[in-house]
């Protein structure tokens, strides 16, 4: 056995039944091993089943075939060891920034005393630089700030894996860049295993240790896996002329637009 695998996907297949027809095979034959503290991006055209894959890891969706193991235990159903940052932040609109995080911490760590609880919540509010907005409702803050709260809430429960489903997809490019910086800075300090679903090539290269490229659906699977050998901390401006960065971008571009170009929808 040697060392235990951290997160391990084995022969995953997801079929969706269609009334009166053969099952739709969204994802098939996915085998993947993810190391502790690794940052992984999953990239592919829309409809390649990347969100389905993430939902199976989170447990919100059940794989039809195959197994997913986290720290040697099979995943059955969702749990706080796999925190999810949803695309549309999914903060509870009647709770303030502080209360949204508090709700999660309270539930997952019921043993905390109330000063410990407050200290923990405030630490994570500060981590995403939202001290000034902690008593605001989600409707009173910008989209980027909401997504930062979503990240803080996910991290506050100390998950083994942070799952992000196109976390910055709904944001404009400047806000998105700002959030990517936040994420990289936080990652430097807390060290977490992160899986990011994205369709943004620059985001994938900038953030990840490895980029998983998915073929087009139906019957999507892992096409190629790209190692990004760039030192951290990474600086987006300096990277623009870095050979490794350019090589990675071109590899993904070629995969997405030459090998697996998407036909017109």
């Amino acid at each position: 056995m040697g060392k235990q695998k951290f997160l391990h996907l084995e022969n995953i297949e997801k079929r969706f039944p269609i009334l009166g027809k053969e099952d739709y095979i969204a994802v098939t034959n996915v085998n993947l091993e993810i190391k502790k503290n690794e940052i992984i991006s999953i990239i592919g055209h829309s409809g390649c089943g990347k969100s389905t894959l993430l939902n199976m890891i989170s447990g919100l969706d059940k794989e039809t075939e195959g197994y997913i193991f986290l720290k040697g235990k099979e995943i059955v159903g969702p749990g706080p060891d796999r925190a999810v940052v949803f695309q549309n932040h999914s903060l509870l609109p009647w709770l303030t920034v502080y209360q949204n995080i508090e709700m999660a911490v309270k539930k997952v760590m019921p043993e905390l005393s109330s000063p410990e609880l407050r200290e923990r919540v405030e630490r994570y509010v500060s981590m995403v630089n939202l001290d000034h907005a902690k008593d605001k409702l989600p409707s009173e803050i910008s989209g980027g700030m909401k997504q930062r709260v979503g990240i803080a809430r996910a991290l506050s429960i100390n998950p083994d894996v942070l799952l992000m489903d196109e976390p910055f997809g709904a944001l404009d490019s400047l806000t998105r860049a700002n959030l990517q910086e936040h994420l990289m800075r936080i990652q430097q300090s807390v060290e977490n295993t992160v899986i990011i679903i994205t369709h943004d090539i620059d985001e994938a290269v900038l953030l990840s240790d490895r980029v998983i490229m998915m073929t087009n659906g139906p019957e999507a699977t892992i096409g190629e896996i790209l190692e990004v050998n760039l030192p951290r901390p990474r600086n987006r401006v300096e990277l623009q002329h870095n050979e490794e960065y350019i090589r990675c971008r071109e590899a993904i571009l070629s995969f997405l637009y030459e090998k697996f170009a998407k036909e017109d929808e």
């Binding site: 159903g77 969702p78 999810v84 949803f86 999914s90 509870l92 609109p93 009647w94 999660a104 409707s139």
Partner: protein, 271 residues
């Protein structure tokens, strides 16, 4: 001068004058129909058309002559008591039932046909049956109001539960909320504004229905009072009754609206 405000004051006054005009012409045509000034005297006291000095029904609403002869205030209180008793019973039964129907597809399949069939039935159709069961005016009126109020409460509560965003439920799943925690922390905050909308509708209809119900049951209450004034040929008091019922209905709606806004998270933090 604020132009909008001036319009808001002047335009209703013009309509009021028009109503008085139509009213006066009806009083001219229909024999014994009270004129606006007759009605005013009957309400607030003064010298009536026959030259008699009288106290108006609104000038002395608190008198108690005997068990069956009380001032307008007591009549209204009696009606309000019945409305609120039936209304509160309807909340106690309707909200849990609505939550169940909203959360469980099976419960929805089970109850929906009956809600659809009974909802359009005038609550007054139930009244003879209820009178036969209870043989009591108060219980009959209260249970009629209960049947009146329960449908909008059930339907709106279920609607509120159904409008819970799937994302919120996913958050609850990831955090492994128990069913109770899901209801208390996710479903109720979303559903409460809907529940209050249902309650506001219910209360409005209940206030409509109580007048008719009391006309049928008799006894004491604003509905029977209006009917009794018809039998006593006091037609001006019918008009006074209509206006009083209208004002109280309006007041109830405003109060329910304020309470509903207080519990509606979407209306908070916008100031």
């Amino acid at each position: 001068m604020n132009n909008e405000l001036a319009k808001k004051i002047i335009l209703p006054i013009l309509v009021f004058i028009a109503i008085l005009g139509v009213w006066s012409s009806i009083a001219n045509v229909v024999e014994d129909f009270p004129t606006p000034s007759d009605t005013y005297v009957a309400a607030f006291g003064g010298t009536n058309a026959d030259g008699d000095e009288i106290t108006g029904v609104l000038a002395d609403p608190f008198y108690v002559e005997n068990q069956d002869d009380k001032g307008l205030f007591w009549q209204i209180m009696e009606s309000l008591k019945r409305v609120f008793a039936g209304f509160i019973l309807a909340i106690l039964v309707g909200v849990p039932l609505g939550l169940l129907i909203g959360m469980s597809r099976n419960a929805q399949y089970a109850f929906d046909p009956f809600i659809q069939i009974f909802k359009p039935v005038s609550p007054l159709a139930w009244l003879p049956l209820l009178l036969f069961i209870f043989q009591d005016i108060n219980l009959t009126a209260i249970s009629t109001i209960f049947i009146t109020s329960i449908w909008p409460i059930i339907i709106n509560t279920a609607l509120g539960v159904k409008s819970v965003n799937e994302d919120y439920m996913n958050v609850a799943k990831v955090l492994r909320f128990t069913p109770i925690e899901k209801v208390m922390q996710i479903i109720l905050p979303v559903a409460v504004p809907f529940i209050f909308t249902g309650m506001r509708l219910s209360l409005g209809i209940a206030w409509l229905v109580i007048v008719a119900a009391e006309m049928l049951t008799g006894g004491i209450g604003i509905g029977f009072w209006i009917w009794d004034e018809y039998n006593n040929l006091n037609y001006h008091n019918i008009i006074i009754g209509i206006i009083v019922v209208g004002l109280i209905g309006f007041l109830l709606d405003v109060i329910m609206g304020k309470i509903a806004d207080y519990f509606d998270y979407t209306k908070k933090g916008r100031a």
